[in-house]
Symmetry: C2
Subunit: 471 residues, 2 copies
């Protein structure tokens, strides 16, 4: 039984095709059964013969039926006819639902920017200009697997001036984010021959990539001025991931003595250092600290950067700088892998940097973040200095707070939440979870608008007062 609905938007031939197909798949029409001729079927359903021919052609092309010259159409012999199951019902369990009242909460989250301090018009213009430019060009991203040369040239100059990084554009690879950069490193090396070591605590999004790639992961404890260097001495053939400019999440700066010791270790033990310089531009009382890469003379440092912290986490543009010695290995593995960043975004970013707007934006951002940071820190110090310890270094968009309290992290977070304040755990950043102080929380100030800080901090300080011991 075929039902043809002439009022449906679905073309008639498609209705016919679908129903015959379902009848074959469900076994209603059986192997070698003769189908009505196109003329008969057209007459039966009062449709044009061309409609039937179209449907039969499609079924034939797909191998459901065969035409036997002169004799007509027959159902094909199909060995296995699976039953048809109903459509799956849709569930959205794993998705976050955005509620309207999110804005009544003072959210001290990490990793985002307040768009009020954005050079938004200039950036928007770069995007539309780039879009107009690219539509006349073609598949640039296929032709430049490491990213567009213009962007890599611009970046090479910028990195030298701003971070002391010495590299040619050939050493730069543009990627769609920090984790993509890491997956390239994980692929260039191999989990069979290399160990992955990382600072503990450290960024959990880094950990996950090397775990995914089956590396053995060695945690290296962090003290006030960075990782414990003696722990490295037993490690050979190791990739060491560190955040020297601003240890994540603890906020310390790796001292030059340790930097030199780590470079020394790498040179003597076939180690490579993965230097993640994620937010070095956001430094408030001094110049950004020169990168580790800039003082490495032995090609032992892989430098990672991102535009997520300085421009937008939603841009999905990051990069890595490989030592020249690793380029042949990279090219062997990535020769046929396309760049994952749209060219028009790469062109937009290049224009944004070359026009000076990026530097202006960074300056604005720095001034803006510095104000927010100092405002928060001053309020904390004035009101609760004896109840807390602030870990950080006048840098970036977050700090860690230790509170004199018996409560654990989740209980602290819950108490803040009762006062409409969102603060965040730090235990997710510990590999050795048991080493994580119970009384620490992470406070971010990137996305909270500056005008909300005073009101938010009032509630913040009240909560602190409630939960902390008085000494």
């Amino acid at each position: 039984m075929i039902i043809i609905d002439t009022k449906s938007k679905i073309p008639l031939y498609e209705q016919l095709y679908q129903q015959i197909k379902e009848q074959i798949l469900s076994g209603q029409l059986t192997a070698n059964q003769k189908l009505p001729t196109t003329r008969e079927l057209a007459a039966d359903y009062m449709i044009s013969r061309n409609t039937v021919i179209n449907a039969y052609s499609q079924l034939e092309v797909e191998g459901f039926i065969k035409s036997i010259g002169g004799s007509g159409y027959y159902v094909e012999q199909l060995n296995f006819v699976p039953p048809i199951s109903p459509n799956p019902s849709f569930s959205y369990a794993n998705d976050i639902v955005y509620t309207e009242n999110i804005h009544s909460i003072y959210d001290f989250q990490y990793g985002d920017l307040d768009y009020n301090c954005y050079k938004i018009k200039a950036w928007r213009k770069c995007i539309t200009d780039a879009f107009d430019k690219i539509s006349l060009q073609t598949k640039l991203s296929y032709d430049s697997p490491q990213g567009l040369l213009d962007l890599r040239r611009t970046l090479s100059n910028y990195l030298y001036i701003s971070r002391g990084v010495k590299c040619s554009p050939d050493q730069i690879i543009i990627t769609s984010g920090h984790q993509y950069s890491l997956s390239i490193i994980a692929n260039i090396f191999s989990s069979e021959n290399w160990i992955f070591a990382m600072e503990d605590p450290g960024y959990n999004g880094t950990h996950t990539i090397f775990k995914q790639n089956n590396y053995s992961i060695i945690p290296v404890p962090v003290e006030n001025d960075g990782i414990l260097v003696p722990e490295l001495q037993q490690l050979q053939n190791t990739l060491l991931y560190i955040t020297p400019s601003h240890q994540f999440p603890m906020g310390s700066i790796l001292s030059i003595a340790k930097r030199l010791a780590i470079l020394n270790w790498a040179g003597n033990n076939n180690g490579y250092i993965i230097e993640d310089d994620y937010d070095s531009e956001l430094r408030y009382n001094s110049l950004p600290i020169a990168s580790l890469q800039s003082i490495d003379r032995n090609n032992r440092t892989i430098y990672l950067g991102t535009f997520s912290k300085s421009l937008s986490p939603d841009l999905r543009i990051a990069f890595l700088v490989l030592p020249e010695t690793l380029l042949p290995l990279y090219r062997e593995k990535y020769q046929l892998v396309n760049c994952s960043v749209p060219s028009f975004l790469q062109i937009a970013l290049t224009d944004f940097m070359l026009s000076g707007n990026y530097q202006k934006h960074i300056n604005t951002l720095r001034t803006h973040f510095k104000k927010k940071y100092r405002l928060i820190i001053n309020l904390l110090k004035k009101n609760n200095s004896s109840d807390i310890t602030i870990h950080g270094s006048d840098t970036g968009s977050h700090f860690i707070l230790s509170i004199n309290t018996d409560l654990d992290q989740q209980a602290i977070i819950d108490r803040f939440a009762k006062n409409n304040i969102r603060v965040y755990p730090t235990d997710i950043y510990w590999i050795n979870k048991c080493q994580c102080p119970k009384n620490q929380i992470l406070v971010g100030f990137g996305s909270i608008p500056i005008e909300n800080i005073s009101k938010g901090m009032e509630l913040f300080l009240n909560t602190l007062n409630d939960i902390s011991f008085k000494l």
Copy 2:
């Protein structure tokens, strides 16, 4: 000796900082050496004392010098001082240089679109609208690791209607390209326990990802209606990559009998099928063929799609649809991995699809490509039918041409190039290179403007006449 250039754009304190740092690193200033006081240095160089204080603070923060209360500043004890090497000289050997005369060549390349048939205004508007929307929202891409729910919902409906794919938005993962999708699959499974098999010839960009991830790769020969199914019988625990709707590069359609046999094989041998449906929307004489996923009742098909062929290769948006049974494994490995596609592009694409502009664009593209395809094929058949065989199926944006000639692929390509025609090799798609016919070339027609085809084909046919045997 320090040189302060008051006319330089570099701030004075930075000049001072840099030069003292270099002197420490190069050994000119030695450990524990006392530095001039800030007052002395300011007087010596006729700069403000604050400038010197700024420079010293920076050096102290980085651990190059230490201040000893009351006594002044001293150079730190650094264990290892590497020599300073000169800047690397930049080379651009690996980059393609775009020349102006590229447009005088008739380029039958594969993988790109002619932007003349683009709904460019509607798409541009979606991009700018999305940009304006996103700038008020925040880091959406961090919150939706599988991609924005709205896009996944839209895609889920679209795939059901257009390709028969049955899936919930939960099963869809938005990625920054075909290869990124494949790397997720390579990561979910493991090269230790799984074999990767793929059609031979097949897409070399697929091969490279599984090779990178250390999989054993088994080539499965392709005949006229798709891969040789009996070859599968010896394979267990295997991921099988195929292009059923339009075999790449040979152009055949996988028959329904083979589809069922392959599904059967997968069910009985713990196999998974990676169905790459890269250009199924570009079909000229019939409906797109329903996907393999749509007739799989056993959760054995991973469906891959891309917007590279239908919208733009530069968009860098693709997706995969996982069977529900693989979702727990995926979530375990990818819980902390961010989506690599900017949200504003995801929002733009959602709007483009929901507004009906995507479907209109596909229709335009199909009509346009069909015209080009038929024009080329008719010219070939009329003029050289005895010298050539065309492999393809009225689908997509390329076909394969076998030429009656003794020349090998490179020689054929060179002869075309002499007449300003670019055609492309097929041997790069063969795993068993020796199986690749010497006399085949790949002809793409996606990017060549329709108005250039007649003139281009004149030169094309002349070349064919020159190089082929007359039978």
